[in-house]
Structure formats: structure tokens, C-alpha cells
Subunit: 130 residues, 2 copies
DNA sequence: CTAGACCTTGTCGCCGGTGTCAAGGCAACG
DNA sequence: CGTTGCCTTGACACCGGCGACAAGGTCTAG
């Protein structure tokens, strides 16, 4: 399988696949003419990469999962390094949820306060003019 | 007040103040020698900018708040444009909280599943090896 | 032989808010 | 007059995951 076919089958671009390769996530062989040649297993790998990216992982975080798949495991999640990353990411997400919740509360209060002030100003105007 | 003093008093850098200026958020006069001259009110403006940035607003979102302060209001929040931005941002945050909650659940499940599989594998190994 | 559809490497651009450095003008003090 | 310390504009660097383009090699069909 050449790079174009893999890209199409994985729903991504050749540029992206080459980018993954420079970051050590995908490892094609080379044919005599220098073309990248991928075997079927790489499709699985690319899907794993895309799924994790979609969840908010960075390429560096993803490396262990790919290694786990390459080691022959049915899921990229089961190896110790993958589990460690999952734990860390979960903690990061929790922390971010906290911050975002705080922000939400502040925005909500700020908005409520602004509206109250607008209403008061409106009332004062009516009292004065009417 | 020159740019260095404002930067120090606002707890930021001159570079940052000039950047805000290029984006229309801060408007110093110029002295005869071309130096930027800020009056006291700009300190307030810069604080508003920083507070909103800290909450996750972009510079473009902040413009209405600054305009509101400049229009003489005690708070940058009370003008219609500001309120509109606050509403939009609140909605954005809510949407992001949703997504992040989904991600959290997925990560949690993925992690739990991985750990289960590891335990099963461990048990099988023990059974086999005695 | 040629057109066209693949492939290769290399490089620049984006987004946003800043750090940082360069090269030069101005002010104040000794 | 020189040093110090402020100011000016301008421009590059960063991060991350690509998009987009250039200049060229390769393979196949007509």
C-alpha cells in the first residue's frame, strides 16, 4: 500500500502521514524506487493516532499507544506506558474541567451583574424622564 | 506616564502594551519626542484586558469592554456589546465543558478497561505458570 | 513520446500572545 | 563628552498539527 492509498483509507492526507513519520509514529518500508510502502497493520495504527488526537492528545502522548499496538496487543491501551499516559491525561482533563468550571461561574456572575446594572440604569432613566 | 511605568504598574511588559496598541485596545498620546504617553485611566483599561485574557478571551473579544470603559462606565461589562460577548463566551464555555465531560468519560472508561484487561492477563499468566 | 497521476524532499504559512534582540534616538547626570 | 537608561520601530522565534506549493523523479496508458 502506498501513501496515497493509506491516506485515503485512513481519511487523512499524505502530508499528515509524512508528518507522523517524522515524529516516529508510523514506519513504512521503502520500495526500490523510494516510495513509502505500508502494510495493513499501519491502517490500524493511523486510526489509533487519529482517535487519540481527536480526544486531545498530542503526538508525543500517542507514541506509547502505537508501540503497544506494534507489540501485538489487541488494544493500544493495555501497556503500562499507555496506562500511565491515560492516567495523566485524565488528571489533566479533571484539572481543566475545574478551571473551566470556575471560569464559567465567573462569566455567569459577571453577566448577571451586568444585566442587573443595565436594568437599574433603565429604571433610573424612566423615573427621571417619566 | 510613559510605557515603561505603565507596564510595571500593570504587571506586564512594554512589548505587550505595544501589541495591544496595534490591536486597537490601548491608545496613548504622543509626546513631542514621539514617546507614548498614557493617562491614569489606561491603567484601568490594561487591567481589564489582562483580567479578560486570563479568563480565556481573545483580544478581539475584549475590544467592546475597553470601549465601554472609555465611554465612562464604571464597569466594562455593562454595555450591550460587552453583554453580547459575555453571553457568547458563556455559551462557548458551556459547549466546551460538554465536550470535555465527554472526553473525561471516554478516558475514564478507556483506562478502566485497560486495567481490567491487564488484570485478566495477569490472572491467566498465574494460572498457566502455577 | 507524452500526458497525467502518482511519488519524493523541502520550505513557508497559520494562529495568538508574548519574549527577545537589533539598531538607533532622546534625556539626564557626571 | 560619555555613560546610563529610557524610548522608538522592526523583525525573528515559539508551539502543534497540519495545508499548500515548488521542483523534480517514476510509472502507466494511449
Amino acid at each position: 500500500m502506498l501513501i496515497g492509498e493509506l491516506a485515503q483509507r485512513a481519511g487523512t492526507s499524505t502530508r499528515t502521514l509524512r508528518y507522523y513519520e517524522t515524529h516516529g509514529l508510523v514506519r513504512p518500508r521503502r520500495s526500490a524506487n523510494g516510495y513509502r510502502v505500508y502494510d495493513e497493520a499501519e491502517l490500524r495504527v493511523v486510526h489509533e493516532i487519529r482517535a487519540l488526537l481527536a480526544v486531545g492528545f498530542g503526538l508525543d502522548d500517542i507514541r506509547p499507544f502505537v508501540a503497544c499496538l506494534r507489540a501485538g496487543h489487541a488494544s493500544g491501551d493495555v501497556c503500562p506506558d499507555s496506562v500511565a499516559v491515560l492516567r495523566r491525561k485524565l488528571a489533566e482533563v479533571d484539572a481543566y474541567l475545574d478551571r473551566l468550571g470556575t471560569v464559567r461561574r465567573q462569566l455567569h456572575d459577571q453577566l448577571a451583574q451586568a444585566i442587573i446594572q443595565r436594568e437599574e440604569a433603565c429604571l433610573r432613566t424612566r423615573q427621571r424622564d417619566g
